[in-house]
Assembly symmetry: C2
Homo-oligomer: 269 residues x 2
Amino acid sequence: MARSPSSLLSRICCATALGLGLLSSPVFAQTGNTDAMQVDKKELRAPKVIFFDVNETLLDLTAMRSSVGEALGGRDDLLPLWFSTMLHHSLVDSTTGRFHTFGEIGVASLLMVAEIEGIALTKEQAKTAIVTPLRSLPPHPDVHDGLQALKDKGYKLVSLTNSSNKGVYTQFKNANLLSYFDERLSVEDINLYKPDTRTYEWAIEKMGIAAEDAMLVAAHGWDIAGAKQAGWQAAFIARPGKVLYPLAQAPDTVVSGLDELVSQLPDVK
Amino acid sequence: MARSPSSLLSRICCATALGLGLLSSPVFAQTGNTDAMQVDKKELRAPKVIFFDVNETLLDLTAMRSSVGEALGGRDDLLPLWFSTMLHHSLVDSTTGRFHTFGEIGVASLLMVAEIEGIALTKEQAKTAIVTPLRSLPPHPDVHDGLQALKDKGYKLVSLTNSSNKGVYTQFKNANLLSYFDERLSVEDINLYKPDTRTYEWAIEKMGIAAEDAMLVAAHGWDIAGAKQAGWQAAFIARPGKVLYPLAQAPDTVVSGLDELVSQLPDVK
């Protein structure tokens, strides 16, 4: 089976083509393996609130590759396994009626991955590798201009993250993103993790809007899955290495970055 | 940070020592990174039903390394990422009120991992790589004798798996395990995945017993987490590469194999 290093690029190109309305309806969200999922090309409705996922969607997690890799004895290829283990165990907590912060689960997951791989790592070393770097992630290059453009168009922007309240505050402060958001919501307040449907229901209740007036912007297929199941519009940002979950409902649009989303949304001022 | 290839072995040795009562109470479940979790050394109560997880606990998933690796262009190091992605997305389904069989999620997860890694893979190729190999896994070497010994001691044995009904039937048929079990329960019947607490509640209701009369045997920390949260006894089998979830309740015992568990349980005939 041949490797196809160009498939990511072609997916992003496809997403770009989508945004420019170059392809007819319905079109494939992705040109690669998960192309069974189709995105019906349609006008996006103007949401009353645009909710943003944070980690990987706005902030670049690959900046943690070196710290996680260093903790794992040079195995920076284990970053995806660590993040997947963290996401899995956040839902292990949610489905068993327990809660720990995303940072705590991140540390526990790094310890588990290290143990599985036979790499010696103390809890303190794991904390050092994760907590500070996670709170210091840089924004993706399109984020500042994209958020400003959405505000200029009249949209209310709210973050909705698995990070803790303190965590996301510090992340936004370090990335100079605090001023763009009308509210910062953390699942910490309801002791559940996305994509539990109740997290989206709670978020719209907090903002006093109906599901059809909400839109989620996320680079995670599982987050899109939850938002669509809750009756929201959803925009998938095809960040490098991020793919849709082929068994979930399709997003309303697939974009390569926030700039492209801006062009698809009407002015509401 | 030094690699420590011997930590797995030392963990298993520690588990063995536990089983033989060589260590004083409380002792560490693991000697490695997640050693914050302590297992109180105590007598196991005789359960009315012993529930068994299947994949990795009874059947050796590493047999899939070659088929999954082949599908991923030779990258058999991606087996753990594939399995973690599958487990995560099983809970994405559970927490968003949807359901697909474990096999379907396995295929979708392989497609996602391939897409992320830029490896070309069709849905048919992914199915071929997963479905037949998953149903043909060999049992771990201690399984036949261990199950027979538990039956000889008078225990009722029930499987409780994320695999589908058809899937686990075929798995047990191929591994010659059908005859050991009084019942086979699949989460497919309630459209939820372990470790959702409701899967354990449903299982004891099906068997007509109270939580305190149930014991789960599993090689997954997340499964132990769910069973303990549901009020069951839980025995962790420290299969190679399997570790406990350090933020969950500790299991009642950690063993290196079924033979060791047999020695810790009283005769109930």
